[in-house]
């Protein structure tokens, strides 16, 4: 080591050292990615506003404003500049709002925003440092916190103009009553459910846009859908009388919404291609497992959080082989 010990601070030309690749797209900013997500969420947002009218507008306003407000507050507390410009708080708030039932009281969105931004993100050190998807942390917290306001019964309430909201959600109907559902409403989205999950086509449209823009890694949603389709197919073969086909499994519930917009969060999903497959297949399998065997009709929140927790491990196991083969062990 003695040869390296150079005198400190010798003036001279400065050498910039940075990891490759050295060709960077200057336009690839957090703000652009988050804007992409907002654009991709437009179809499902439109469907939810069409279906649930001012209930949807209210939830979305609470979620987006709540998350932005708490983000600003925590940034002020930490003495940081305002982080609202990167739009990540707006995305968290929108996804959180779209994952809530239309009937949720106002404080659900607000508490969800507080937990999503505060415990989901800021306590870990802010955007890019969090282990778990902030919106899903908020959703899981309010799910345990206010079971009455978010249970299966909360989705169907009489006394509102929109006829849809008196039906049970498709997954609840299938689980508790053994009813099947016609496929077309599931695809278009004219069914009851959490705000953003109803329309399968809307999710697909936004999701494909995200994948084409490379904002979302296509391997993750494909892995989720493949695993869910495989397990759903087996389930359908085992009990064909239920009339719940593979397409029902995919289009009913929040699977597509979760696959395209929640699981693809670049912070909390694996970086390596092989890791993305493992992560996607893991989520898909876990969702189907929870739908079949847990007390809840849907399992996207728990599945995403579980695989978020496994992401550092997956990344470590799937480090790609460097160009030219692995480094030979020294003798």
């Amino acid at each position: 080591m003695s040869g390296i010990a150079a005198p400190e601070a010798s003036p001279g030309p400065r050498l910039e050292v940075s990891p490759g690749p050295h060709i960077a797209r200057a336009g690839l900013t957090t703000r652009r990615m988050m804007l992409d997500v907002l654009i991709a969420l437009a179809p499902v947002t439109a469907v939810s506003i069409y279906l649930f009218r001012w209930h949807a507008i209210l939830q979305i306003a609470i979620g987006v404003l709540g998350c932005s407000l708490f983000e600003l507050l925590f940034a002020r507390m930490r003495g940081r500049p305002s982080p609202l410009g990167d739009l990540s708080a707006a995305v968290t708030g929108l996804i959180l709002a779209l994952s809530l039932p239309w009937s949720a009281p106002w404080y659900v969105g607000l508490v969800g925003s507080l937990v999503a931004v505060g415990i989901g993100k800021v306590v870990f050190g802010g955007l890019g440092q969090n282990i778990f998807n902030p919106a899903m942390v908020g959703r899981a917290f309010v799910m345990v916190c206010f079971p009455a306001a978010l249970g299966a019964a909360a989705y169907q309430m009489a006394g509102d103009g929109a006829a849809i909201v008196t039906q049970a959600t498709p997954l609840t109907a299938a689980k508790q009553l053994g009813q099947s559902a016609p496929l077309w409403p599931l695809l278009v989205g004219t069914v009851n459910g959490s705000l953003g999950e109803t329309s399968a086509l809307g999710c697909l449209l936004g999701g494909i846009y995200l994948c084409l823009r490379r904002t979302a890694a296509w391997r993750i949603p494909l892995g989720i859908i493949a695993a869910a389709a495989l397990l759903g197919g087996i389930q359908n073969l085992a009990a064909p009388a239920a009339g719940w086909t593979v397409l029902h499994h995919l289009a009913g519930g929040a699977l597509l919404f979760g696959a395209f917009f929640i699981a693809t969060d670049p912070v909390t999903s694996p970086l390596t291609p092989r890791g993305m497959w493992i992560y996607g297949i893991g989520i898909g399998a876990m969702v189907m497992f929870l739908r079949a065997y847990s007390g809840y009709p849907e399992g996207v929140v728990a599945a995403v959080l579980l695989l978020n927790g496994a992401t550092p491990l997956i990344d470590r196991f799937t480090i790609p082989r460097p160009v030219g083969g692995p480094v030979p062990a020294r003798r």
Partner: protein, 211 residues
């Protein structure tokens, strides 16, 4: 051995805030997480632990001349176990419902590392009076810590404090706060807050010394 041993008053004051068993030493977290969903349970726990801690410290201090180094932990544990059995039977006889609610956590005081640490650190080395003062201070610190966590959890989770309604009737109970995840979240956030206050205070002290 070091020549200077802390006096009784120092021991007592150290145990409350500066060396708080929960917030500074992170000891005895099992009862802290398990029984703080209500003030009543938390204060019963704090009382039982205080009884065991003070009695075990006094007894250990009395027999400190007889302790053999390789057997001392065993003797501590047996001493503690005797008092825990007394506390457990007392609660079962006079506070049956509370005893049922606390369940295994009263017998588990035996393995509460706060008590063994006090025996090891103080009462096996110092006199009876100092040992009792030390145990009293640490018990007070433990009770304060449990009360702080239980206050947050009971008010948010049930809208009550000591079973009395403190939140308005429209308050939606945060059910998660009285469930185990609420314990972890509350403890984590309060620990963070305590560390933040401590850091801010030390900074201020450092600044005033520099000036």
């Amino acid at each position: 051995m070091s020549a200077h041993q802390p006096t009784a008053a120092e021991r007592f004051l150290q145990g409350i805030i500066p060396e708080n068993p929960i917030y500074r030493q992170l000891l005895g977290l099992c009862p802290t997480l398990a029984v703080t969903n209500g003030m009543r349970a938390a204060m019963t726990m704090a009382g039982a632990t205080a009884f065991v801690l003070i009695c075990a410290s006094v007894l250990t201090s009395l027999i400190r001349g007889l302790l053999k180094p390789h057997l001392r932990i065993l003797v501590f544990t047996l001493t503690i176990a005797a008092f825990v059995t007394i506390a457990d039977r007392f609660l079962a006889a006079y506070m049956y419902a509370m005893s049922k609610q606390l369940g295994p956590y009263i017998p588990l005081i035996i393995v509460n590392c706060i008590i063994i640490s006090r025996c090891e650190v103080c009462s096996s080395k110092q006199g009876v009076f100092t040992a009792a003062a030390d145990a009293g201070g640490v018990s007070l610190g433990f009770a304060l810590a449990l009360a702080s966590i239980a206050t947050v959890r009971e008010i948010l989770g049930a809208g009550t404090w000591f079973g009395l309604r403190v939140m308005p009737a429209v308050w939606p109970d945060w059910v998660v706060m009285v469930l185990p995840p609420g314990a972890f979240l509350t403890l984590g956030l309060l620990l963070g807050g305590a560390n933040w206050i401590r850091a801010a205070r030390e900074k201020r002290r450092g600044a005033s010394r520099a000036a």
